[in-house]
């Protein structure tokens, strides 16, 4: 047995089993050995056991982000699989699902296999690729969906763009129906979006900016609910931003339609008023919406209409983002600020308890993708996150592991400093102040 490790004195939160208590967590041979007295005696009494003291911190299953852009292959000036997963580890994430809008897109088996291999070599997080729905994400011809899922893809999406053609959406839902994976929709009507750059409302009116109405998202969500009902397939709605979309999803769930949904941190904390200074770091798609939308999303997260909390981590270079608003690309980074923002938006105002938040950052996204894990049960891979919910920190993009510095939260003070992230029992991130001691 390799040296066992004891994470000592933390509050163990394992929402998958309803556990919330202060206890030592033992790790041996890359796996969870057990909690406190439940860990095998030979682990607990091992003479070379090491101890990481984390009194006052929370120990939870490794966080899972269902929606990131790792940019590799083809856009390595923005991010690579290595830098993106380093950023994930620093943000407390042990698994990410990456979108296929790379160059070229992830639309064939060798590329899916390549991403999985590159991520294993890097070793900072589990990377679950999402395959394209259509070849080249051109919206015209289906990819070899069943083969791509067999190769290791965990869902299909043309993210960055919507699956515009309803017939193709229907067939993708039929093909994935029996595979236990969702079709992930970037819900957007391209005609209604037009050349809009921000939410359409009073702020866009005042700033003279081209608007993207909330209906650009909601009409596609509504259509997809009907297609999910028609086919029995599973639609997962990416980055829900609008109150009306949430309402449509809530009703569809009520009717038993197979739909799940995610949102992203910025939609819960910022509104379109943040665009006021024309700062391209407030430009993303879908755009920051009204205060009403923000409030409705908080409610939808609380009542479970929105199942999981993602980031839509979208790194871009400073060159691209340091420009006038119209010229800048859509998207902001999120992996290294997500936990703090979710704590600030959801837990501090008491919309959710800490275990309820962790559920939406671990088990729920995994279940959307049909994946196991998200537990600290003995025998499970030791993927875990330790963070101090009370410890506050300042966001400094210059300290990011991500190559993308495009965050609207620069300079914000956030709760929930990540202290330690482990993947298969290996440390993938450790804050400077966290020591290891002999037992």
């Amino acid at each position: 047995m390799a040296n066992p490790l004891c994470i000592r004195g933390g509050r163990v939160l394992d929402p998958s089993r309803g556990i919330d208590r202060v206890q030592d967590l033992w790790i041996a041979n890359s796996r969870i050995a057990g909690l406190g007295e439940d860990a095998p005696a030979d682990v607990r009494s091992h003479p070379q056991a090491e101890v990481i003291p984390v009194q006052g911190a929370v120990i939870c299953p490794g966080l899972v982000d269902i929606h990131v852009h790792l940019r590799e292959p083809g856009q390595e000036e923005k991010e690579t699989i290595e830098t993106g997963t380093r950023a994930a580890a620093r943000g407390g994430f042990t698994a990410v699902a990456c979108m296929p809008n790379t160059t070229p897109p992830l639309d064939d088996r060798p590329r899916i296999e390549w991403v999985i291999r590159r991520a294993r070599e890097a070793g900072f997080a589990r990377v679950h690729p999402i395959a394209a729905v259509t070849r080249g994400q051109m919206g015209e011809t289906l990819t070899e969906i069943e083969d791509l899922i067999d190769a290791g893809a965990v869902g299909v999406s043309d993210d960055g763009k919507p699956v515009r053609n309803a017939e193709i959406m229907r067939r993708a839902l039929e093909l994935t129906r029996g595979l236990g994976v969702p079709v992930i929709q970037h819900a957007e009507d391209p005609d209604l979006k037009g050349d809009g750059v921000m939410h359409e409302g009073w702020t866009s009116t005042r700033l003279g900016m081209k608007g993207i109405p909330d209906a650009a998202e909601s009409v596609v969500v509504a259509r997809d609910m009907l297609l999910a009902e028609l086919t029995g397939g599973h639609v997962h709605v990416a980055h829900v931003s609008a109150a009306r979309s949430a309402e449509i999803i809530r009703r569809a769930k009520g009717r038993g339609i197979r739909v799940t949904a995610e949102t992203a941190p910025h939609y819960l904390l910022l509104t379109d008023e943040a665009v006021e200074g024309f700062d391209p770091r407030t430009k993303m798609n879908p755009p920051l919406r009204s205060a009403k939308d923000k409030d409705a999303l908080l409610e939808a997260v609380v009542d479970g209409t929105i199942d999981c909390l993602a980031t839509d981590h979208a790194p871009h270079t400073d060159i691209e983002k340091d420009s006038d608003f119209d010229s800048a690309p859509f998207g902001i980074v999120g992996l290294e600020t997500a936990l703090g923002i979710y704590l600030k938006a959801l837990v501090e105002p008491k919309h959710l308890s800490l275990p309820e938040l962790i559920l939406r950052l671990t088990v729920n996204p995994l279940r959307v993708l049909g994946l196991p894990g998200g537990t600290l049960e003995a025998g499970a891979p030791a993927d875990l996150t330790v963070f101090d919910p009370a410890r506050r920190w300042i966001v400094r993009a210059s300290e990011f592991e991500s190559m993308g510095r495009n965050t609207p939260f620069e300079g914000w003070e956030l709760p929930g400093a990540v202290l330690l992230t482990m993947l298969d029992g290996r440390v993938t991130y450790r804050a400077e102040a966290v020591p290891t001691t002999a037992r």
């Binding site: 037009g194 409302g201 009073w202 009116t205 003279g208 900016m209 608007g211 006038d324 119209d326 010229s327």
Partner: protein
């Protein structure tokens, strides 16, 4: 106050006092323009760059004239033929401006907020000469100036703005300026050209042109900007002219001494009938003349001069009166 500002980016940012101070200063310069030799040395030694990333004739000429009347050195930079069309970023443009030691930058850009980007990145003073569909503050100021010169006041006047409000930076700057100075503003135009929640500007939305013109002191007619429009917004110019065109017949609903304004260039026979454009109510050419004076005032104030003291103001024979001290030759840092 305006004299302490580095930039003029929009009328939304200005207080009514600042606007009035610019208008007062403009009056002094308006007198300069009527002299046999309409030139003052106020900006001697300063260099102004006119950066036009979007086609413009009259605004560019007006700024250039204003700069030359004040003895500034001027350089012009237009998209066609410049390195911008070769993909140079606004950031590099800004750096080059800085490297050339330019003091005042006049920028027109197709992207709303582009002047704000330059203002953040340059020590030079930045004047917005029209950004996307956001603001065109000097047009707003010259419209206010023209109204005030004729009527002696702005407060209490009824102003109708007719046309494509969504895509009009002239409309936004006019609305901010007019409402800050106490005018009551009514707008009219096709429903597809009315931005969401437009009434929050503090304007009334009329159901028809006739309703908007009823009893108006001023009718400001916007150019129908075909180049900005998607075909989904309106069917045809023929229909537009019939439903929204301002004709002398329609103008009868306004006050007998109504002022007809247009920022130019006009589409005669479309948003404005020929006889209205050239008729006795038209102040359109006055707007053009006043534009130079207003831009002189803005340049003067941003270059770091205090507004000429009203009480001390006298018909100057050399240049606008300064309250004290030598004019700074360098803009505020």
């Amino acid at each position: 106050m305006i004299g302490t500002r580095k930039d003029l980016l929009g009328l939304e940012d200005l207080s009514s006092e600042e606007i009035v101070s610019i208008l007062d200063t403009a009056r002094t310069f308006r007198e300069v323009l009527d002299r046999p030799i309409p030139k003052v040395p106020s900006l001697r030694g300063l260099t102004a760059a006119n950066l036009f990333f979007e086609a413009s004739t009259r605004t560019r000429l007006s700024f250039e004239l204003a700069e030359k009347r004040m003895s500034a050195d001027t350089v012009n930079f237009q998209t066609s033929g410049s390195s911008v069309s070769k993909g140079e970023s606004l950031k590099d443009t800004a750096r080059n401006i800085e490297a050339m030691g330019i003091h005042l930058v006049v920028i027109r850009h197709q992207s709303s907020g582009a002047p704000h980007y330059l203002a953040r990145n340059l020590d030079a003073g930045v004047i917005n000469a029209g950004d996307g569909t956001h603001e065109h503050p000097t047009q707003g100021l010259l419209d206010l100036f023209t109204i005030r010169e004729r009527r002696g006041k702005i407060a209490g006047l009824k102003v109708a703005i007719i046309g494509d409000i969504s895509h009009s930076r002239v409309a936004r700057s006019n609305i901010w300026g007019l409402t800050k100075l106490g005018a009551s503003v009514t707008i009219a135009g096709p429903a597809t050209m009315m931005p969401l929640e437009v009434e929050r500007f503090g304007v009334r939305v009329a159901r028809s042109v006739d309703e908007a013109i009823e009893g108006a002191d001023v009718v400001n007619i916007l150019r129908i900007q075909l180049e900005r429009q998607r075909s989904t917004l309106y069917s045809s110019l023929r229909e537009y002219a019939r439903v929204y065109g301002v004709t002398s017949e329609r103008l009868k609903r306004a006050k007998p001494d109504v002022m007809v304004m247009h920022p130019g260039p006009m589409n005669r026979g479309i948003e404005i009938a020929q006889d209205v454009a050239d008729g006795k109510h038209s102040v359109i050419l006055e707007q053009v003349t006043n534009g130079v004076a207003v831009r002189m005032a803005v340049l003067y104030l941003l270059a770091g001069h205090k507004a000429p003291d009203e009480s001390a103001a006298e018909p100057s024979t050399t240049e606008p009166k300064k309250t004290h001290g030598e004019p700074s030759l360098h803009p505020r840092r």
